[in-house]
């Protein structure tokens, strides 16, 4: 049996612009990545002291998840029914390079802990008390077909009721985050959860909602 699931919200952060459901909601063109992330954190009035100790990958994914979930029905779910399936190309290489520089001096546990890409998932789970299935996959390029297959499997087998999925990649000043909230219920303005729509949003094309 094949059940339809729905993208009920999506958020893209790329080239120093934040988009929520395709609408640009913040931009700060003349900033490097750490400064841009801090300006977005401040702009959206986020108040979460743990943000400051995160690495750039976790900061990017965390901010995208905050904007994605704003106004959503995520709090209606039980903690074990919400999970995350994220992916990227460069794993935690951005932080790996920072950690290895510390090794010749005093290896830093605060840097070492961020040398795993799924720490970003942990940060989002801690913030929202999400306790369901997680997974982190590495792909050369965003693989919408795999995300569609894997997340549909988790939702249709009732392993999860809602899933945050997508791509969060950082290497030095190159970065991109595209997150999708996928639910079983077709809410207002929901889009069918499909490879075509995932790819369309990822490439920042206008989505045909019909």
């Amino acid at each position: 049996m094949y059940l339809n699931n729905y993208i009920t919200s999506y958020c893209t952060i790329v080239k120093n612009v934040v988009y929520k459901n395709e609408v640009p909601v913040f931009e700060n063109r003349n900033a490097d990545l750490p400064a841009f992330l801090l300006s977005a954190y401040q702009h959206f009035g986020l108040n979460y002291p743990k943000f400051y100790k995160m690495d750039n990958l976790s900061k990017l994914g965390w901010i995208a998840s905050e904007i994605l979930l704003k106004g959503s029905h995520i709090k209606d779910y039980q903690p074990e029914d919400v999970g995350l399936v994220l992916s990227n190309a460069n794993s935690s290489l951005d932080s790996d390079l920072k950690y290895i520089k510390s090794v010749s001096d005093i290896p830093s546990p605060a840097l070492f802990v961020y040398t795993l890409p799924n720490i970003m998932i942990g940060e989002i789970c801690i913030r929202n008390n999400f306790k369901g299935e997680d997974a982190f996959f590495i792909f050369e390029k965003f693989d919408a077909g795999f995300i569609e297959l894997y997340v549909n499997n988790l939702l249709n087998s009732n392993a999860l009721s809602a899933c945050i999925c997508g791509w969060v990649d950082v290497f030095e000043d190159e970065y991109k985050a595209v997150l999708f909230l996928v639910e079983k219920e077709e809410r207002d303005n929901a889009i069918l959860f499909s490879k075509k729509n995932l790819d369309g949003i990822f490439e920042n094309l206008v989505i045909d909602k019909g």
């Binding site: 290896p107 998932i121 942990g122 997680d134 590495i138 297959l149």
Partner: protein, 375 residues
């Protein structure tokens, strides 16, 4: 949904290069853990289960890195005589690792192509091309539960009908990067690790690779099955385990429920058992509260050390051999119970009629995983 069978497997470790060799060694209580004096690794001597470095000299002429050669060696032995063709369009390759080619940061940091060469999708592609896999390989990198997650990913892809066979390979190489990191957490044991023991002082790291081939083809219906599994998150701390074990317990209960089993149906548990104070305490709580406190349990870290992205695969494959041979292995390094919940840590090689095994793991990022294997 179709059943998922384990068709073939391999463990490529410092104590053996086939599953049979490895099981014979651990049955005899032989461990790969030794003290190493190697300044490339650490200034002070350290206990670890490592390959002989002379076997793996860095040779820039070689196409494959040490990490990739481990993957290839393990996959090669597993595919041989398995009856599964890598080039079959119904076959997918899944790679599990925490740090892949990270050692290149120590040796080739100034190489402009480093970013692409170090990426795990590059290694996956090279290994896939080596054997002629036609589908895009998948890479799972989810801390210390990567191996079990890769098995669950393979199982799900087979159950959904997307593929018929999954070749799942995991490996990690221990270099200064990883060792210094665990040392910075004060998490490395000053002696070979002692899972669940009162005097445990932390982790011993280990190197290795392992491969498991899964198939949904009914021609393998006499083989051991992957009945089901689940993953959970503590939502508590990025580097410390849950204080209650509640979330690992939830993963265990979900895995049992998917498998259609109750706690009383499990014949033995292969725990994560890293021998850190907090991990073993959390696991004991989860296992006891899941109703598995009387079930014989072992940790295999005393034989292999913590092999990171390979651990879930190596320990699952040893547990599958245990099922086949009706033998539960003792927990090497364990003497006196050192966790607050009573659990039944296995201390001697035990013969018993075995049908079903639960394998668990937990890792940084608050992740937990459980999977059930059965005859």
């Amino acid at each position: 949904m179709p059943a998922v069978y384990i068709v073939a497997d391999n463990i490529y470790s410092p104590i053996g290069v086939t599953t049979a060799e490895n099981f014979e060694q651990v049955k005899q209580g032989i461990s790969g853990i030794k003290q190493h004096h190697n300044t490339a690794l650490a200034d002070e001597p350290v206990y670890a289960s490592l390959f002989d470095y002379a076997d793996f000299k860095t040779d820039k002429q070689l196409t494959y890195t040490r990490f990739e050669r481990l993957l290839i060696a393990s996959v090669e032995d597993t595919l041989k005589d398995s009856g599964i063709e890598a080039s079959d369009k119904k076959t997918v390759l899944i790679l599990s690792s925490t740090k892949g080619n990270i050692s290149l940061l120590e040796t080739d940091a100034d190489d402009p192509g480093l970013k692409d060469r170090i990426a795990m999708h590059t290694s996956a592609k090279l290994v896939a091309a080596h054997f002629g896999f036609v589908n895009q390989p998948l890479v799972v990198s989810n801390a210390c539960i990567s191996g079990i997650m890769a098995i669950l990913t393979g199982m799900r892809l087979l159950q959904s009908g997307q593929y018929e066979n999954a070749v799942i390979v995991g490996a990690d190489v221990i270099t200064k990067f990883v060792l210094s990191g665990f040392q910075s957490f004060q998490a490395i044991s000053t002696e070979p690790c002692r899972p669940f023991d009162k005097n445990r002082t932390g982790i011993t790291l280990g190197e290795g690779a392992a491969t498991m081939i899964l198939s949904s083809n009914a021609e393998y219906s006499d083989r051991i099955k992957v009945l089901g599994g689940a993953v959970s998150n503590d939502a508590n701390h990025i580097s410390a385990p849950s204080r209650t074990g509640e979330e690992l317990k939830q993963a265990i209960e979900k895995a049992l429920s998917i498998a259609g089993l109750k706690a009383g149906d499990i014949d033995f548990v292969s725990a994560h058992g890293t021998a850190t104070s907090y991990n073993d305490e959390m696991e004991a709580k989860a296992i006891a509260s899941a109703g598995l406190d009387k079930v014989p349990l072992n940790s295999l870290k005393g034989y292999y050390g913590h092999t990171l992205g390979a651990a879930g695969l190596i320990e699952s494959i040893i547990s599958i051999q245990s099922l086949k041979q009706n033998l539960i292995l003792p927990t090497l390094g364990f003497k006196t119970i050192g966790v607050s919940d009573a659990i039944n840590v296995c201390t001697a090689l035990t013969s018993a009629a075995l049908k079903t095994c639960l394998k668990t793991a937990s890792g940084f990022g608050g992740c937990n995983a459980a999977v059930v294997f059965s005859k």
